[in-house]
């Protein structure tokens, strides 16, 4: 059921109920007035409750295309509801205790209610702003959404602090404990107010600069992700197409596969991870490279971890290392993949017995190792080490700290 705010008179509860039951809203309104009179006005409380609990039709419609519900902002009243609900439950508990005769002083009531509300608000903020959530891996756009929300959360968190401080001051004032220190408190409040007025423009500018810097960093990360993906997919396929130009059937097959992959990446917003298991995803990547490049790959995986965005980055980097080995050491025998997954860490080694290279002499325009392997791992909080010498093969070690299964 939804409130019909467009056809409603007050909040659209009667109109929504009429729509739900298939009855003319006027009849519902008449019935509501009669019930209100009969219950000496108590039905109004029911109306207010329905107003709070039942979502509005227009709000429900307009909320759909907006940010996901996990996004935070002023428009979302969930935190206020929790704070108000906690305060009212505290008030209810205090009233019950008072009725039961377990009571100290009436001066306790409002300070305790305010403190409970403020505490609930702070608890909600600490949950939203927890470092685990903020530092969790994710795409640049999801990180941007979290950070935009954090500014509003910080501001709202200030209300929680203010409520708790207000509760303490109210309690002290009610018990005449502020009498002797009233002048000191007033001076401190005036000083804080003046400081806030003086510093506000600087803080505002600092905040805007920080936001601009964050936005630029996020855009740069997004560009790097895009470049890495295009390198790993389109450019690698074009290299294969050049190599197999003599076989039109295989070229067409490669083009079809690449087109499918690119369309899915560009337009399918709800891309499912390739697998639920990192071990399976690594195996699948090895098989894929083996089939595309026709080189034998031996994969040994010990343990397993769930697939999240960090694990996907490990798989993508390992895949790029395998493609490089297949491209530059096609006749050097088997490529070896050894992975240790567990204890909150994924460690993957990709070895080949090819001609090797000097990592210091890789030209700047070759993005495979720098962006698709090293850059990608670093963007997700991991690291990649390349050990290679001309004539001695190459070993790439990928390490990522991640959540245990």
């Amino acid at each position: 059921m939804r409130r019909d705010t467009e056809r409603g008179i007050v909040a659209g509860v009667c109109a929504g109920l009429g729509q739900r039951l298939g009855i003319d809203p006027i009849l519902i309104r008449v019935a509501f007035v009669v019930i209100t009179i009969a219950t000496a006005g108590f039905a109004v409380i029911g109306y207010a409750l329905a107003w709070l609990v039942i979502p509005a039709e227009s709000a429900a419609r307009s909320a759909a295309p907006r940010a996901p519900r996990t996004a935070t902002g002023w428009a979302r009243p969930a935190n206020w509801k929790v704070a108000a609900g906690t305060g009212m439950l505290s008030l209810s508990l205090l009233l019950v205790l008072r009725e039961l005769g377990i009571w100290w002083s009436d001066a306790l009531v409002w300070p305790l209610v305010l403190a409970a509300s403020g505490g609930a608000l702070l608890w909600r903020q600490s949950r939203v702003m927890s470092p685990a959530l903020d530092e969790a891996p994710g795409t640049a756009s999801t990180r941007a959404t979290r950070r935009r929300g954090n500014l509003a959360d910080l501001y709202r968190g200030g209300f929680g602090v203010a409520l708790v401080i207000g509760a303490v001051l109210l309690f002290l004032s009610a018990n005449d404990a502020l009498g002797q220190t009233r002048d000191v408190v007033l001076t401190a409040i005036a000083a804080i107010f003046a400081l806030a007025l003086i510093l506000a423009p600087f803080l505002w500018r600092l905040g805007r600069n920080l936001a601009a810097e964050r936005a630029a960093r996020i855009r740069s990360q997004e560009r790097a992700e895009l470049a890495a993906h295009l390198h790993d997919s389109v450019l690698q396929t074009l290299t294969l197409v050049q190599k197999r130009a003599g076989d039109p059937r295989e070229v067409a097959q490669l083009a079809r596969r690449q087109e499918r992959e690119l369309r899915s990446w560009l337009f399918d917003a709800k891309r499912a991870p390739p697998s639920e298991s990192l071990a399976t995803a690594l195996d699948a990547a090895a098989v894929d490279v083996e089939e595309a490049h026709g080189v034998p790959i031996e994969t040994v995986v010990v343990g397993d971890l769930p697939v999240d965005e960090r694990a996907e980055a490990v798989v993508a980097a390992a895949r790029e290392a395998l493609v490089n080995a297949a491209k530059f050491a096609p006749d050097a025998g088997e490529i070896a993949v050894y992975a240790e997954l567990g204890e909150g860490r994924a460690q993957v080694f990709v070895r080949d017995r090819g001609p090797g290279f000097d990592p210091g002499t890789v030209p700047g325009d070759r993005r495979g190792v720098r962006e698709s392997i090293v850059g990608r791992m670093e963007r997700f909080g991991g690291k990649a080490e390349i050990r290679s010498r001309p004539g001695a093969g190459t070993e790439i070690e990928l390490t990522m700290e991640m959540a245990e299964a």
């Binding site: 059921m1 108590f42 409380i45 029911g46 409750l49 709070l52 609990v53 039942i54 519900r69 996990t70 979302r76 009243p77 969930a78 935190n79 206020w80 509801k81 929790v82 704070a83 108000a84 609900g85 906690t86 305060g87 009212m88 439950l89 505290s90 008030l91 209810s92 508990l93 009233l95 019950v96 008072r98 009725e99």
Partner: protein, 59 residues
């Protein structure tokens, strides 16, 4: 399309029915409740509904 139960509305409805029953018993003198207890009941139910509504909004 499958219809999903709105748990908050369901709980709110049950709580309001409970309040109604308590008030009815109070009116019919089967239950003697003071104004303080009734106020505590109203405020508590209202607060619980608000709290649940806020907590479930994230899910």
């Amino acid at each position: 399309m499958t219809a999903r139960t709105d748990r908050v509305s369901l709980v709110a409805g049950v709580l309001i029915i409970v309040i109604g029953v308590v008030m009815m018993l109070d009116q019919s003198s089967d239950l003697e409740l003071s104004g303080g207890v009734l106020a505590a009941l109203f405020v508590g139910v209202f607060g619980l509904i608000l709290l649940l509504s806020g907590l479930f909004e994230d899910r």
